[in-house]
């Protein structure tokens, strides 16, 4: 057990801080118009990639840094602590990139991985459907094998930044006669394909981060399958667990910066002298800190060579709860008008934290089934 950073990690931390001190964009520099904003953020990620701060633990032969995962965590925590903007490749970095590395062929790795890291090609994740949310395995999008390749038909939803994506990892049913979880495959779909339509959806926050995706006889070359025919479910579960496990520490650091902002806002509004407000802030801080303790212990098993297992579901439960407590506390302590646009947006978005990436109820099912081994329902 060791809390302090290793000497190499300390040096890296100093490097990242020095880099951020000169290069991190101020929030006011980031353009508002969506197209300009995306272009700006891609440039930002590219600069961080050149500095060695993106994909630091990914294999060097495919464009990564070839360093231990613990170093990427140090980098991500520093980026979050500095309030640096999120990378636009988030889906590629957290979901499809790890899937290609773990299940792709060397040709696929050589083709797709580096452009993810350099933000040259953005990825989308075509998993959920209007009728297949928590019950993802009931998805209906079909892929039929023909002489030209796979022909896809169906509808996907919750496609983050679909309007900017170059590629989409689509889960489709390749063998409809097989039972639910089998017969699903993962296909890499070119977003410029004929028959493919993307429609942005306005969210409650006012942004259009998500899109719907319509597939009407979209042809996908045979070599664009990731893993084998019927491996789709296995790959999806692997990467979703990976996402839950690795996202928690930088997310925790970001929540901590929000809490610091809330304390400063409360002081400026003159409500910090109220002991009840202080106690609410303390409870929010305690949840954020315990998230750090628990995510660190869970991640330690992973960093020492284990897989990200069902324990990541506990981290996801705590992460959603900490974010929701913090944002609800902000509204309660500052009031509606005092909270202003910053907290309004975060409060609304925080309500999705217990839904996306597997609802709280799905996480509890995973724990009951796979950790507690309770007899089947």
């Amino acid at each position: 057990m060791k809390l302090a950073l290793e000497p190499a990690e300390q040096l890296l931390q100093e490097d990242v801080r020095a880099f951020l001190a000169t290069h991190a964009p101020d929030a006011s520099e980031i353009p508002h118009a969506l197209d300009d904003r995306m272009a700006f953020l891609r440039e930002w990620q590219a600069r961080c990639y050149e500095a060695g701060f993106v994909g630091r633990a990914w294999p060097a032969e495919f464009g990564g840094g070839g360093r231990p995962t613990s170093e990427q965590i140090v980098v991500d925590q520093e980026l979050a602590a500095a309030g640096a903007p999120e990378f636009p490749s988030v889906v590629g970095l957290d979901v499809l990139g790890p899937a290609i590395l773990a299940f792709g062929t060397d040709e696929q790795r050589a083709r797709y991985v580096r452009p993810i890291l350099a933000a040259e090609e953005l990825w989308a994740q075509g998993f959920s459907e209007p009728e297949a949310g928590s019950d993802l395995a009931s998805l209906r999008t079909t892929a039929v094998e023909t002489d030209e390749g796979w022909v896809l038909n169906g509808q996907k939803t919750w496609i983050s930044w679909g309007q900017f994506a170059r590629w989409c990892g689509v889960l489709a049913r390749t063998d409809p006669e097989l039972p639910k979880h089998k017969g699903i495959s993962l296909l890499v779909v070119d977003m410029a394909s004929p028959g493919l339509e993307v429609r942005p959806m306005e969210q409650i926050t006012g942004h259009a981060e998500f899109c719907e995706l319509f597939l009407d006889d979209v042809v996908v070359p045979s070599e664009n399958m990731l893993g084998g025919r019927g491996d789709g479910w296995k790959i999806a579960m692997h990467v979703v667990g990976h996402e839950r496990g690795t996202a928690a520490l930088p997310r925790q650091v970001m929540l901590r910066t929000w809490l610091d902002r809330l304390v400063a806002d409360a002081a400026a509004a003159g409500v910090l002298a109220d002991e009840r407000a202080q106690d609410e802030l303390a409870r929010a801080l305690i949840e954020i800190e315990v998230l750090r303790h628990h995510a660190s212990r869970t991640m330690a098993a992973f960093l020492n060579g284990g897989a990200v297992g069902p324990e990541s579901s506990g981290v996801k439960l705590l992460m959603a709860q900490a974010e929701q407590t913090l944002c609800a506390t902000a509204l309660d302590v500052l009031g509606d008008a005092g909270a202003g646009p910053f907290w309004h947006e975060r409060y609304l978005y925080s309500r999705a934290a217990s839904v996306y990436g597997g609802t709280q109820q799905i996480q509890r099912d995973i724990i009951a089934n796979r950790i507690l081994s309770l007899p089947a329902e």
Binding site: K2, L3, V263, V290, A301, N304, G314, R364, A368
Partner: protein
């Protein structure tokens, strides 16, 4: 940051569990001493190891002031005595290093509250003010008057301790020593509570798999599965927090005092929720005196109040947040 246990630490936890399972109630304390469970510092044990032992004792509800004595031994070498810290004072905010108890002409006078295992203690570690500075007076328990108070857990039996011009055995350390003992005590009683909650969770999990209603095991009902899943997360996150706070004490981290307050506040509430969840899973059977659930519940609630309640520690965190912003 690596929060994984080493092989030695795992072995320690298993050995202590075997020791407690084998020894009869009267000899556990001596066996712990022979095992080296009080040998702290140097090549000996750190707060992480002490927490592992306290958790193991808590899992079996051993009625011993181990967490209490180990917290004192963590800061002072008192040769393995059954020493209990007296950190709370009646009618005052929980502030161990700001005692009203005073030393005048070399004699200690004052009142301490909620002193666990007071009747079993050989020595008390008593924070007191001498010439304006906080010090730690080690006094013989026989020189104090101990008054039993109503309690949910008669095994811990937190008592009122009155000191009237008591001649101390020795005077040790300063305010910093007191803060270290208070932080260690908060972490170690939390570890004990996590142990008691963990074994109760396991009993509830087994019971849910065996108890049948509506023609199937009640563990098949999602309402109960989710209670058991939430209990698991509360338990594991509380343990993560205890380990983190213990490691921050061992590494002399600048933030160790705050980490211990966070851990105590969180673990006290989380373990109590685990116990409440377990009682719900057991249903009516948990309300019979012979069933073990109530003994776990009592231990968890009373240890949650030892060395500052969740509210006391939340207040401490809250005050430091407000101070930092002003």
């Amino acid at each position: 940051m690596d929060l994984q246990l080493t092989d030695e630490q795992r072995w320690l936890a298993e050995s202590v569990d075997e020791l407690v399972a084998r020894a009869d109630a009267g000899s556990v304390w001596r066996s712990l001493g022979e095992f080296g469970a009080f040998e702290v510092g140097g090549d000996g044990l750190g707060a992480v190891e002490l927490a592992l032992i306290a958790r193991g004792l808590g899992a079996r509800l051993a009625p011993l002031p181990y967490a209490d004595a180990a917290a004192v031994h963590y800061a002072l070498d008192l040769g393995g005595a059954a020493v209990v810290p007296c950190l709370a004072e009646p009618g005052r905010r929980y502030a161990p290093a700001e005692p009203a108890t005073a030393i005048v002409d070399g004699r200690v006078s004052g009142e301490k509250d909620a002193v666990p295992y007071a009747a079993a203690a050989e020595l008390f570690a008593v924070p007191a003010t001498a010439d304006g500075d906080a010090v730690l007076a080690i006094v013989s328990a026989t020189r104090t008057s101990i008054e039993a108070r109503p309690t949910l857990d008669e095994t811990v039996a937190p008592a009122h301790v009155r000191l009237e011009e008591v001649e101390p055995e020795s005077i040790e350390g300063d305010a910093e020593t007191i803060r270290t003992i208070a932080a260690a005590a908060a972490v170690l009683v939390s570890a004990e509570a996590v142990g008691a909650a963990g074994s109760l969770h396991e009993l509830a999990r087994e019971y849910a798999g065996q108890r049948r209603q509506f023609g199937r095991p009640i563990a098949g009902f999602q309402a109960l599965r989710h209670i058991l899943a939430d209990m698991y997360v509360q338990l594991e996150s509380a343990w993560s927090s205890v380990l983190y706070a213990a490691a921050s004490l061992d590494e002399r981290d600048a933030d160790a005092t705050r980490a211990s307050a966070i851990s105590k506040a969180y673990a006290a509430r989380a373990t109590q929720q685990v116990a409440h969840g377990a009682l719900q899973v057991f249903g009516g059977i948990a309300f019979t005196a012979e069933h073990p659930a109530h003994r776990h519940l009592r231990r968890i609630v009373v240890r949650g109040g030892s060395y500052g309640s969740a509210r006391d520690h939340e207040r401490a965190v809250a005050r430091s947040l407000a101070r930092a912003a002003s």
